[in-house]
């Protein structure tokens, strides 16, 4: 498979570090002691990726205060407040299903599976807004290869950690929890698909899905499941939360597609956070050169 690389990578237009560090200190002061050790720790040895975009990054403040994480409240500003005390350490990930060696991995083991890279990706929400986020992680393919799935494994299913005591607001979310998501195996193995542990040079803030989340830049944001506790290899397509809640509006694939409207709003345009005018939404969120081949011959109107 040929991966085309975007040219002219620059580190220009970056949020001044002082700006977001100050913000972090302020947040750290409001967070319970237990989580400070994890959230916002600097990640060492991160290399830059040739798969990054050189677009202007969305400020740290916006990336970390405008979140959809319904377990911690359905308004965008609530997760930053309500997830502050969420315990992400110790953390384990259960690997199961059609796999040679089912096992429970410690987070440290996951983080050592492959070198960490910074991937600056466009992030397009199904609600027609978008951001540019400097994620940190490694290709999901690296983990999948180490786990050695069997020949029956056609899909990968993910599950978010769920604890109604730590997530009391989940009951008002109107969604069945725990949150589940899934990818076809070739999507999961694609080099752009990122198992993500950080952003802006540091470990993930809780509201962004600490300690471990998925980032699939050519799909709508809700495919990027947060706080992963379970990865299951399956033969059949796994259920996905938004599809369970409303199958007419959210499909299994949910690739960014300006030609297929969400029933209640247009997907042809988006508002980039921080910008006044809307911009045109790109097919596969602009990653078509890399991923269109995955869907050759498929009717994307039906498989939305």
């Amino acid at each position: 498979m040929i991966i085309r690389v975007e040219k002219g990578l620059r580190y220009s237009d970056v949020t001044p570090r002082a700006d977001y560090v100050n913000r972090r200190r302020f947040l750290a002061g409001t967070i319970g002691l237990g989580s400070v050790a994890w959230a916002g720790a600097k990640l060492p040895g991160v290399t830059k990726s040739r798969l990054s975009t050189d677009e202007k990054m969305t400020p740290y403040q916006d990336v970390t205060t405008y979140n959809n994480y319904y377990e911690f409240g359905t308004a965008k500003d609530q997760p930053a407040v309500n997830a502050a005390a969420f315990r992400t350490s110790p953390w384990t990930v259960r690997i199961e299903g059609e796999v040679a060696k089912p096992q429970v991995l410690d987070l440290d083991a996951v983080m050592k599976m492959a070198p960490l890279e910074e991937r600056i990706y466009r992030h397009r929400c199904v609600e027609a807004w978008s951001m540019v986020v400097p994620w940190i992680g490694f290709p999901l393919a690296a983990l999948i290869q180490k786990m050695a799935p069997t020949s029956k494994a056609k899909y990968v299913a993910f599950e978010t950690f769920f604890d109604s005591k730590q997530m009391p607001r989940a009951q008002y979310g109107g969604l069945p929890f725990p949150y589940v998501e899934g990818l076809r195996m070739d999507e999961a193995m694609h080099p752009l698909t990122l198992l993500c542990v950080g952003l802006y040079g540091e470990t993930l803030p809780n509201q962004n899905g600490a300690p471990l989340r998925l980032v699939v830049p050519w799909k709508y944001g809700f495919k990027g499941i947060k706080s992963i506790a379970r990865i299951r290899f399956t033969e059949k397509a796994p259920p996905t939360t938004w599809n369970l809640a409303n199958a007419g509006e959210y499909g299994f694939y949910s690739n960014v597609n300006p030609g297929v409207d969400h029933p209640r709003w247009t997907q042809s345009k988006e508002r980039r956070i921080g910008e006044f005018f809307k911009r045109d939404t790109l097919m596969f969120n602009g990653y078509g050169d890399q991923v269109a081949g995955l869907y050759a011959g498929m009717d994307l109107r039906k498989n939305f």
Partner: protein, 189 residues
């Protein structure tokens, strides 16, 4: 009572002033246009529900003078509705008429929102004493029953708009149903 109206007018403007103040403080969040859309929509619905509450409150509390505030509250609902519509037409659609028409005809929550808004226009126009005289009280009252349609459409607009957390639209809907039911029961007594 003069002072009562001044206070009511100031109270009606307060949400807008608060919004403007937050704007100057850069306190509208990561997506200011969405924030303004939600705030103006919320206040439209609140004033609509409040208008519907005037008559029941007046009768239940035995305070006939409350009727004096009904027009102002209704006009504030229209005012915030206009701001809400303007935010959509200008900041969301940038006056793209074709795109707006597509939205109105295709997306049922926008159809409902438009219905709620359009129905308020004749009510705002005929809200003066002169119009009551010209139309005659009976016909005027009949026309102004359209506010029930506007409030119901507003609640449905909100209900159809949210993705999965329906708590707030259900609360507005329940209050509206309660206030309309009171009217039915009261008129039969």
């Amino acid at each position: 009572m003069r002072w009562g109206k001044v206070v009511a007018f100031a109270a009606g403007l307060a949400p807008l002033l608060y919004l403007v103040w937050r704007g100057f403080q850069q306190q509208l969040g990561a997506n200011p246009i969405e924030f303004i859309t939600h705030a103006t929509g919320d206040w439209t619905l609140r004033f609509l529900v409040l208008t519907l509450a005037v008559t029941p409150l007046r009768k239940i509390l035995g305070r006939p003078e409350l009727a004096q505030y009904r027009r102002m509250i209704g006009l504030f609902a229209f005012f915030y509705g206009c701001l809400h519509l303007m935010t959509y037409v200008w900041l969301d659609k940038f006056f793209d008429v074709a795109d707006i028409w597509k939205d109105v005809s295709k997306r049922r929550f926008i159809t409902m929102g438009m219905l709620s808004m359009v129905v308020m226009i004749p009510l705002a126009v005929t809200s003066t004493a002169g119009w009551i005289g010209r139309m005659g009280g009976r016909r005027w009252r009949l026309l102004h029953q359209l506010v029930y349609v506007s409030a119901a459409a507003g609640c449905i607009h909100y209900y159809w708009l949210v993705k999965s957390d329906v708590r707030l639209p259900v609360v507005y809907g329940a209050i509206t149903i309660l206030l309309l039911t009171w009217r039915v029961v009261y008129s039969r007594r």
